[in-house]
């Protein structure tokens, strides 16, 4: 085997091309970076948000100093935000578990999970939507700009649809909610006419 100038040049160019290519690849987006991301389904307060398996509508947002369910009364050092939600599964029976909704604040904080008092939406059958009230405890300084996220499948926050419903809480509305001294007795889930 004989080394020639052209052969050497070719080898250098190949190595250089591999180096540039591998460097560029490091900066390209990879499937792993996005594989676990949810698929956000944006919606507005008062309008149905169509997930792959159910329609979810937020019909009312109110604040409370205490919430009551089945005789248990929960107070708070912040604000109880009570969301009136209509949950309408489309193809199969379903239930929206009360610990699933999360409220996202503009500063990145998220509120929700298991509450001192947790109410569920459902079980509900297709064609028979259920109305329910979901209480979520939040700090008084976090009301403005809250966005409601609910996964299509309970507990499935990755690689599946998640609502992004802007609750439309402006600074003025946040001040009203903060000042609320209401004591809300949560309604049990009830079937509503579609």
């Amino acid at each position: 085997m004989r080394f020639t100038r052209d052969g050497l040049l070719t080898a250098i160019l190949v190595v250089a091309a591999l180096f540039v290519g591998s460097t560029l690849t490091q900066y390209l987006p990879k499937p792993d970076d996005f594989r676990d991301d949810p698929f956000p389904v944006a919606g507005a307060f008062g309008e149905p948000v169509r997930l792959r398996n159910a329609d979810i509508t937020v019909t009312k947002v109110q604040a409370a100093r205490t919430v009551e369910l089945f005789g248990q009364v929960a107070a708070t050092d912040g604000v109880w935000l009570v969301l009136d939600v209509t949950y309408a599964p489309r193809h199969e029976p379903g239930v929206l578990v009360g610990s699933q909704p999360l409220l996202s604040a503009p500063d990145g904080r998220r509120f929700g999970g298991l509450q001192a008092i947790t109410n569920n939406c459902g079980p509900a059958n297709p064609g028979l939507p259920v109305a329910c009230q979901l209480p979520i405890e939040v700090p008084a300084d976090a009301l403005e700009g809250l966005v409601l996220t609910i996964p299509a499948e309970n507990g499935q926050w990755e690689n599946d649809e998640v609502t992004e419903i802007d609750l439309g809480i402006t600074a003025e509305r946040a001040a009203e909610l903060r000042a609320s001294e209401a004591q809300v007795t949560l309604q049990e889930p009830t079937v509503v006419r579609p």
Binding site: L102, F111, A116, T118, V138, A142
Partner: protein, 218 residues
Amino acid sequence: MAEHTPQRAASRLETWRKRYALVSDILTPQRLGLLGAVALLGVLGAFGGWQAVEGVDAPEVPLAKVGEPVDVAPFEITVRRARHFDELRPALYPTDGYRYLVVSLDVTSHNKTPVAGLDFKPAITVDAEGLQTVGDRPEAPRLLRGVDALDARSFQPGLTTSTIVVWQQADSTPVPAEVTVTLSAQTWRQSVMDGGWRWSDPAPVARVTLPVEALEAP
């Protein structure tokens, strides 16, 4: 000369081989290895290798004061007071053979997402004797919210929550005049067992000693 040297080495090797042949049925290579290992352990022992380690103290955990906020990742915890009582209805009913020993705290989560009450429990221990056990381990305390005496199931980001940590202590042990509460910070990391992410590895960051008061009237 060059031919003579290998011959001399070969004859010496042959000599040792003959000598070893006399005992090779007893001193097999495996037994020789075993004897070597035993000798090594003996030498280690002769130089103190099997004595208990001394002079290595656990790192001193700093003391904090009652009412002083302490950064205990992912929380900020302020220890308020310790109390004992037999019942506090409707949250805590009397139990035969046990009294309640509780510590009141203010807890603020600095995490961006809610932290489950279960994940708070490793953050606090108390040095009292006679605590109720599960098997040979102390039972995890129960967490109540000071504001409504319901179970503290989660801590919301930035929301300071008055929290009551409840242990049960055998009433055959005397009521302690004071207790020391140890606060432990945790780390958010991926489990090597199942790959799940959770708060793990509690490590003491502060101790608070406070008197135990009797709760006469709820």
